[in-house]
Subunit: 395 residues, 2 copies
């Protein structure tokens, strides 16, 4: 047989790769102003602090760090992580599993729960990386209506009744891609609906600590008494995405299945990266670091919001209180997907909004990231986009 | 609904967790002599060398290491890894993907290739961790007969014809659990059968560099001209398992699907651990390190083999040329599974052989690891086992 006749598993039918990562290759040329991706600012990456930590954890506990570890996690990190969750979220979850970022958390939850054809309810739009993960488990993705504040509870209950979903995937705080935050009064009802209909809620909350305006809200999980709400946390946005450290926290039965799945997925998260985050937490370096990076991010966000106010008439955009993204809806008729190529020619990149919709459409939308460009770059890049969209509308 | 009524995905039916990892919890008490597991010797873990490296890679390339990386790997590591593979295996594979150990390599290959019900041919016995991984993909595991040298080629072809398998999983060098090495004359025919029947061969080769006697053999992949043989490499046994760095190398179409799968599994392997292995390779530290650790492992293996020669009459065992394991077959009628509890009471642990057989049975076998105990501990532990088995046979 010829290797080109090899057939792959059916889960890959129709899967071509994350649009963001393909866009990233396209824009990996010097001089590009990127509003695509969700990269932290280079200034926000604490390499000066982590370099000596990396050395000292290996000096102090090297034999244990370099040996096989438990799937359940590096013991000192489990301790500091539990304390961090308790103080940051005000809850003490039944079980916690360190993972290699919330991408793996999603993969393990799907592995634990999803048979081909099972329904997962998703926000509309939602994070495209995790939509792809769900598609690889051959899930049936059903979008739930959103309004200006996020998930529409009536439509959510209606779809829980109608589709008997296995899971609801929600990013309640500074959502990716919209930047919206689900208000307090919608949080508890989601936990209640989860219990009523037996639906696991995957509460993906990587942006929570990046708040620039307003006040923090309790997590959906903190209002859950049933065990159906699972919390996905990540240190990617507040320490380093390249370290790949995050966690799942929640009901011990669900975490146990995720642990079994992880045993066969990668055995355990690297002890070294767990030990580094552990030391960063124990040294009380995280909170001051977050405070510092939020100052910069707030300026970047407000600069981009200011620029958006002079975009072509009919342009609508979200005004987030934190996170990394602003969502833009251009006047009808404009299609941001073919326009991306022209933007890239002018050295500016964004992600066309259609990629974030489980069922496509919404061609006049785009996602803008403000964390990975300086203020002058933001102004320069936004000028380019404003002109490009104006020209296109004038055609 | 009550959380206890939550049903998990069907892939978990009958999956209870790896026997080795459960045994590990049982034996995690001080004073235990462990012949279970496949842990490198603590002395073989280069913490003194890696501590300054961890610091210096973050000092030299910290902003890139802490940022999101490409699923395809950390660019400097891709370079040094390709050079290492070329010099160590004498081949230059079409494509290479860094992964978090060969456990993830297996997971990604299954994700790429296996639909529920697809057949995977496995050695009998084989590595139980990866058998569990395949079961989670709901594969139909069909064991192929082995003789004293490894896979029986006649039975292999017979089963390729009969079961139309998607994959053959083979550990050709110092096999886990038997320590056997597949002779040269059986390697090329496996590559030829793979092409003839269109079966992907997963050649899992983590022990290759741990050779104490005899001479190195070419890999199956080096004799493959079709692209059907995929090579799984790992730095777990020669640098550190806790770092979680390995790779898959082979046909670019297969690696491309694994890369897509990895994108949704964990986005990318931690840049820091890739950068550390990269520096270790570039500093030419790996080859002298392997030479040193092989000296110690050779002594440990020969000490254990010597002790086995005075085991009860009728005991058979393999005499490996390298690796970490010796396989023992006790006289018929003895069952090593219930005996493990008694051994642990006497502070000695091993893995009952039955766990390594896809279809169970073979209750009179066990796997012994010699790398994680000192020479005096080996003699002490083997004395305990000898007495225990003698007593049991005398009953």
């Amino acid at each position: 047989m010829h290797i080109q006749d090899l057939t792959f598993a059916r889960r890959f039918d129709g899967i071509s790769g994350s649009a963001i990562r393909e866009i990233f290759k396209m824009i990996a040329k010097p001089g590009m102003i990127s509003f695509a991706g969700g990269n932290p600012s280079p200034a926000a990456l604490p390499n000066d602090e982590l370099a000596p930590i990396a050395r000292s954890v290996l000096e102090n506990d090297g034999k244990r760090i370099l040996q096989y570890g438990a799937t359940e996690g590096y013991p000192p990190f489990l301790e500091s992580l539990r304390a961090y969750i308790q103080s940051s979220l005000g809850v003490s979850p039944e079980a916690i599993l360190p993972v290699t970022g919330s991408t793996q958390a999603m993969d393990l939850l799907c592995k634990a729960l999803i048979d081909p054809g099972d329904t997962i309810l998703v926000e509309d739009p939602s994070f495209l990386g995790n939509l792809q993960c769900m598609r690889l488990y051959q899930a049936n993705l059903v979008p739930v209506k959103s309004d200006a504040q996020g998930l529409d509870l009536e439509d959510l209950e209606e779809k829980m009744k109608r589709f008997h979903p296995k899971m609801l995937y929600v990013i309640p705080t500074f959502q990716n891609p919209t930047g919206k935050t689900l208000p307090l009064e919608r949080r508890k009802p989601i936990a209640e609906l989860a219990e009523k209909y037996g639906v696991v809620v995957a509460e993906d909350d990587p942006y929570r600590d990046l708040r620039y305006d307003g006040t923090a809200l309790p997590t959906i999980q903190s209002m859950d008494t049933s065990g159906f709400v699972v919390y996905l946390g990540s240190f990617s946005k507040v320490i380093s995405p390249g370290m790949r450290v995050g966690y799942i926290a929640g009901n011990s039965g669900i975490i146990r299945k995720c642990t079994l799945g992880k045993q066969s997925s990668d055995l355990h998260t690297a002890n070294l990266t767990q030990a580094i985050v552990d030391a960063y937490l124990r040294n009380d370096q995280l909170i001051p670091h977050i405070r510092t990076i939020c100052l910069g991010y707030a300026e970047q966000m407000h600069a981009m919001l200011d620029d958006l106010r002079s975009f072509p008439e009919g342009t609508r955009f979200t005004v987030p209180e934190g996170g990394l993204f602003i969502w833009v809806e251009l006047p009808e008729g404009i299609d941001t997907k073919p326009l991306l190529e022209k933007a890239v020619e002018r050295h500016v990149a964004y992600v066309p909004g259609t990629h974030f919709y489980a069922l496509g459409g919404h061609e006049n939308t785009l996602r803008l990231n403000f964390s990975n460009a300086s203020i002058p770059q933001i102004h320069e890049g936004m000028d380019v986009l404003r002109s490009l969209f104006q020209e296109t509308l004038a055609l």
